[in-house]
Point group: C2
Chain length 301, copies 2
């Protein structure tokens, strides 16, 4: 069955075996509430690695029962981070989650060639599933957070990651819109070139289990009427499941616009790692933070 | 008085002297309805240059009285376009508007060095005023349509054009957010470098009558709470009037997202020309098309 909303995602995950999440430097008020909800809803066990006293104190402040969590007392942030990465790497946990440690330090541990979670030559990227009241299904968008100006290899990886996520949501053959400012193919524009290659690769089965077209603008990707008005014939036809953006600023501005002005919620996850890695932005809503955890459990199942 | 909505823009323009708009290749069902409304509301006189028979026929189909317009019968699109540019250039009309002629051909006539409307060395760009229910005022965004990857000179021009437009709306010192995917200054990123230079130019008065900061993401530009949560101290502080984007795909995707999913309407105009030039996309709403005409009248006043 297809998961059509983020609440359906949560319901789905409730019926899956509980996952173990290791939180790196967990003395972080930003993540404690959503982690507690994950335990209370029975979707995850949470192992908090960090300063036990501070964790317990933050829990008290947020009126959260700290006994919900397994707490491993490691005061120093970097050491706590390394130990949580090790646990996930050695299958003592299923999902890694960032706590109070800075993103740079956190990713350094994740990307460590010998002790990290990224396979050699793997491309790290980020996919978000977005729910907005005015679209008839979830929209998977990439890359919201990691790759500034993706080259062809990176765009292919982004596409494959988003397709894989859409499959986990039960979408058998997701429609991938490769986003541009217009539909015009410009042979001098690297994005046009990359998009043409990706479309041909999809046609040849080198990128599997999806339908792709681009460049398409947001209107033609997400609004059937616009395709008609513009006279654009495309298998996407205003019904995209996945939007692959040509650069980080475009994807980031698009999704943040929908969060602020389109009543959007999201679930996002780092891609390319051997196990799901959750990095939640402080400025996301509580709901979105919880959805990120639920997504990590789905992807780890 | 400050114009806070696009309907207030229309009311303002109704009280200004009526402008003359020349429509190039006006046998265009896409523009006739909004042009008729402009005449009926008393904000503009419309001179339609094009195939008179087809214009009258299209009017009949749309149930529009063709005697509302002055029609100059020029069957050939390119000739009609050239003549409409000439009329605007020689002050026989105040505003130029694109009809059925292709954008490429239309812009070629506008950009013609001897007979066009762009001064030597002027930078052509595009600014939209966007109204969305979930923001407390209008948002001026640039560049939605013209400059793919603006360099520093082009970014400065974009900023100046948007500031000039905001002034016309009665905003004395508009707040300019220079948009990035995050707030982090990256000395290896050309946008970060350009933004730092623009901020310093604003401080020195080399770019006048505005407040600027960047890089800021959409959250910090448009949501005060996000600045607090992220600990970002900025004079923009979630209250931006103007968003300057680092590239066309980012601005284009952002505004189209708001049109589709944020219940947005817009008024947009080409910038840099000696007189306002209106190019309306077929896929804009009827309301937005009318607002574009109203904006051109304001900017020509």
């Amino acid at each position: 069955m297809t998961i059509k909303t983020l609440d359906e995602l949560v319901e789905k995950v409730k019926n899956l075996p509980k996952r173990k999440i290791a939180v790196a430097a967990a003395q972080d008020p930003n993540t404690i509430s959503s982690a507690a909800r994950a335990v209370n809803d029975g979707i995850a066990e949470i192992i908090m690695l960090g300063d036990k006293k501070i964790i317990e104190n933050e829990c008290r402040k947020l009126d959260v029962d700290s006994t919900l969590f397994t707490i491993i007392d490691i005061k120093e942030q970097e050491a706590a981070t390394k130990e949580s990465v090790r646990m996930v790497r050695e299958n003592e946990a299923d999902v890694l989650m960032k706590g109070l440690v800075g993103t740079d330090k956190f990713l350094k541990a994740v990307l460590d060639k010998e002790k990290g979670l990224l396979p050699p030559k793997a491309i790290m990227s980020y996919v978000c599933a977005i729910e907005i009241p005015d679209y008839h299904k979830l929209l998977f968008v990439t890359d919201t957070a990691v790759l500034p100006y993706p080259n062809l290899d990176q765009k292919i990886a982004m596409t494959n990651y988003a397709v894989k996520m859409a499959h986990k949501f039960g979408i058998e053959k997701p429609k991938v819109a490769l986003i541009g400012a217009s539909e015009k193919v410009n042979e001098n524009n690297q994005n046009s070139i990359d998009y043409a290659i990706i479309c041909k690769m999809v046609q040849r089965g080198q990128i599997k289990n999806c339908i792709a077209d681009g460049p398409l603008d947001i209107f033609c990707a997400c609004d059937k009427e616009s395709c008609k008005i513009k006279g654009i014939s495309t298998p996407i036809d205003g019904d995209a499941d996945i939007l692959v953006f040509p650069n980080l600023e475009a994807c980031n501005s698009f999704y943040k616009g929908l969060m602020l002005f389109g009543k959007g919620e999201l679930a996002g996850l780092i891609q390319g790692t051997t196990k799901p890695v959750v990095v939640m932005s402080r400025s996301e809503s509580e709901k979105s933070k919880y959805y990120c955890i639920a997504l990590s459990c789905l992807m780890s199942s």
